[in-house]
């Protein structure tokens, strides 16, 4: 399978076969991601890391992934130090990064920004999150985590809880999980429900998601509990945010109602939605999930630059 030169904009641009290939290759990357093995297959390559919005895990794990494979990183994590501040548009910034590097990784507040960037760049563009839109590398690392822990995804009961309206990770993830035939349960406050178009996409893939506001009931049969933060920055109305923040709190009391081998995932950062006591239990998978971002992103960098292990 050849990914050389391919952009990574949306998980929907990939077939199930291609996703499986990426996940299998990510598995091979794990010892390299841990630093147990080293191979500088990206030596001499430069990555432009363009973060127009804040990030901790995505940006650092991309940088780690590039460094672990012997490549170098240029870029910014705050656009206030760039010509954007002088009014330069995104397209011109992309033209520059295109001429300075071999690959572009970008996060931007506007939905579709990465797709637009890919139209102007000759080098591959990887979307590291576009507003409330897509976040394909998060989706891949989530699939990788579930597959690693549960061996397969088909027929597993997976709850997505929290802000399902504005949360970009859950939209891509719901689609991808439906592609794998998971049983989906969406738990959210009524005003933060999963958008209809995501539900329709699941249906088109043969999965009928269950929608509920009660996490206590839903948790009993779940194999995976995927928690998301209620994102203040995505709410047009602060009043709406205040009404729903703190609706769902995951603590050990709640988890007693779940299966013993239930895993709790979260794309992080968390605020108050998961109690720190949960961190010490075997249910807590979110830090391992965050680590998995490194091997998955190493695999993607290697594949789209056509330099394999």
């Amino acid at each position: 399978m050849d990914f050389k030169g391919k952009d990574v904009i949306s998980i929907k641009d990939f077939s199930k076969k291609e996703i499986n290939y990426i996940l299998n290759y990510s598995e091979e990357m794990v010892p390299y991601a841990r630093g147990e093995k080293y191979k500088d297959i990206l030596k001499g390559k430069v990555l432009s890391s363009l973060f127009f919005e804040p990030s901790t895990r995505t940006r650092l794990s991309f940088e780690s992934a590039m460094n672990r494979l012997g490549g170098r990183v240029i870029g910014f994590s705050d656009p206030s130090g760039t010509s954007q501040k002088k009014g330069e548009n995104l397209v011109d910034t992309i033209r520059m990064a295109n001429s300075y590097s071999d690959i572009i990784v970008m996060r931007h507040p506007y939905e579709g920004a990465a797709r637009l960037a890919a139209e102007y760049a000759d080098v591959p563009v990887i979307n590291a999150g576009d507003g409330a839109g897509q976040h394909p590398t998060q989706c891949l690392l989530d699939l990788f985590t579930i597959r690693s822990e549960k061996r397969w995804i088909k027929n597993k009961t997976i709850i997505l809880v929290g802000d399902l309206k504005y949360g970009r990770t859950v939209h891509s993830l719901a689609y991808a999980l439906a592609l794998y035939g998971a049983e989906l349960v969406f738990v959210s406050p009524p005003n933060l429900k999963m958008p209809n178009e995501v539900i329709n996409e699941c249906r088109e893939l043969g999965v009928e998601p269950v929608q509920t506001a009660s996490l206590e009931k839903a948790i009993k049969d779940a194999d995976v509990l995927y928690v998301t933060r209620i994102q203040k920055e995505r709410f047009p109305d602060p009043e709406e945010y205040n009404r729903v923040v703190g609706t769902y709190k995951i603590d050990n009391e709640l988890l007693k109602n779940g299966k013993k081998n239930l895993i709790v995932m979260h794309p992080l950062p968390r605020v108050t939605e998961i109690h720190p006591d949960v961190d010490k239990t075997p249910h807590a998978l979110y830090f391992k999930q965050a680590f998995n971002g490194v091997p998955v992103r190493m695999a993607l960098l290697s594949l789209v630059m056509g330099e394999k292990l």
Partner: protein
């Protein structure tokens, strides 16, 4: 009984037939009438036909361009376009949406990159022709009311 013409014959121009009943006014809006046009326009609404009710629009001395035809296909997917020259039907075809439409619908998502000052034209993938459903190629959202978003 002699059939009666609901709208008069035209010498040269375009007849848009089989418009979804009630949508004639939107079709007029799409082809820029009455603003900026001195053409004689006849409109018939809720005309009985084999397939129920329909609207008809006749525009004299004007032939539609492909962009206008694409726009009509978005709100009247069963419409036919008849080009009339010297009282005869010179060309007749059904409207058909292409696979992708560029620059004719504005994305309803205010934070879509196509609504910014970047050098970008709106671009939608047609996912269903009848009833028309389109998806923004940038933010992947579907407009709820396409007619409302036509530029």
């Amino acid at each position: 009984m002699k059939k009666e013409l609901k709208v008069p014959l035209i010498k040269d121009g375009t007849v848009i037939d089989h418009i979804t009943a009630g949508n004639a006014v939107q079709v007029l809006h799409i082809i820029g009438i009455p603003k900026g046009s001195s053409s004689v326009v006849s409109v018939a609404m809720n005309v009985k036909s084999k397939l129920g009710k329909k609207d008809i629009v006749k525009v004299e001395n004007r032939e539609l361009d492909s962009k206008e035809v694409d726009k009509i296909a978005l709100i009247a997917p069963k419409a036919t376009i008849n080009i009339i020259r010297d009282y005869e039907v010179a060309k007749k075809h059904k409207v058909q949406l292409p696979d992708e439409i560029v620059g004719i619908v504005k994305c309803e998502n205010p934070t879509c990159v196509s609504n910014t000052n970047e050098p970008v034209e709106s671009r939608f993938k047609v996912i269903c022709r009848d009833p028309p459903r389109i998806k923004c190629c940038y933010c992947e959202r579907e407009p709820e009311d396409i007619a409302d978003r036509i530029i």
